[in-house]
Symmetry: C2
Subunit: 207 residues, 2 copies
């Protein structure tokens, strides 16, 4: 589980206590990223916050980058878990309901630890980030493309890839910006209205 073959191999945890150590390190990394930001998240500080020595940290993670990658992966899994059910339904739904579900899922996804999400999206250097987080977006694109292709006779004629790009990018940006940057400005009613608006945006565009 803790293996991240990036630069050097590290030990596989076989005892329970080491699993605890690994979990504590990932959790401490996430907490420090949120509270102090990426620049101040040094390995010494992470180990200290985890109640563990730097040496132990490097027994399970070959680099700071691997630690951050583990945080990203955990975040990605949590998002997938909270969103999977909603997305599974949409394939056979009519357009408006499908889009509404997709928008709702996007909001849910961004509400999984939004402060962490913000740090990951804004502060993590590309080398460590791009693979997993943008993978989510690529999944969303593929999913949307699938829907459009299956229902292509319900829409006007367009380049479906371009249409999917416009839809996915818009939904992502609107929900991301609202949740991550305006959660304290927008009321619950505003969020409900936002889902209506985003749904309308996409539905009328495609029809």
């Amino acid at each position: 589980m803790p293996r991240k073959p990036l630069t050097k191999p590290r030990k596989q945890a076989s005892q329970e206590r080491s699993r605890v150590t690994v979990d504590a390190l990932v959790e401490a990394t996430a907490r420090i990223l949120v509270k102090e930001g990426f620049d101040r998240a040094s390995t010494n500080r992470i180990a200290e916050r985890a109640g563990v020595s730097v040496g132990s940290l490097y027994q399970y993670f070959p680099s700071k980058e691997a630690l951050v990658a583990a945080v990203i992966e955990r975040h990605r899994q949590e998002i997938m878990y909270t969103v999977r059910d909603t997305l599974a339904e949409i394939a056979e739904l009519p357009l408006e309901e499908a889009v509404r579900k997709a928008v709702t899922a996007a909001v849910k996804a961004h509400r999984v630890d939004p402060k962490l999400h913000r740090v990951l999206a804004e502060q993590i250097p590309r080398t460590a980030r791009l693979k997993k987080l943008d993978g989510l977006n690529r999944d969303a694109f593929a999913l949307f493309m699938g829907y459009l292709e299956a229902h292509r006779n319900e829409f006007r004629k367009v380049d479906l890839r371009l249409a999917a790009f416009v839809c996915v990018t818009s939904i992502e940006a609107v929900t991301h910006t609202a949740v991550v940057h305006h959660s304290e400005t927008f009321s619950d009613e505003t969020f409900a209205a936002l889902i209506d608006e985003a749904t309308r945006l996409i539905v009328r565009y495609l029809k």
Copy 2:
């Protein structure tokens, strides 16, 4: 303005050669940001690339952050310059043409040194970035709000602030992602089609 303490001075350049030095530093910073990324853009490297000593750097910029801020400000001014004319026209245009101009302006804006734009958007810590770059987005929001209010009787009844948020966020994201992440993937025709699509997205949403 006479002497100031030597610890945080930002001298006013009064001679021609110092203006040259300042310009060289800002230019070198932009170049290194693009070529090496923010993390590897050390003040020593910047000074070296500018053909100037670190000492001189700190005569004109009190910190590395100030240097980066100068780069951002220069970039912002270049964007404003290339976009101002297009935006000045839209106030009195009918909806579709106004939106089309806005989208075109957004593409133009992102095409001003897209590689630098990407680094500024993705790698610069919030502390140094927020003020100026997000100011651009706030300007766009205000401009769009103005248009919507002036033409409010042409649309359905909605929360105009919410509608403006949806429009500005979508346009920004679609044009940003296309220009910054897909410039080499998208052909010129695709870009032309993208402008059509983005325009349709917004127009049909508002009508």
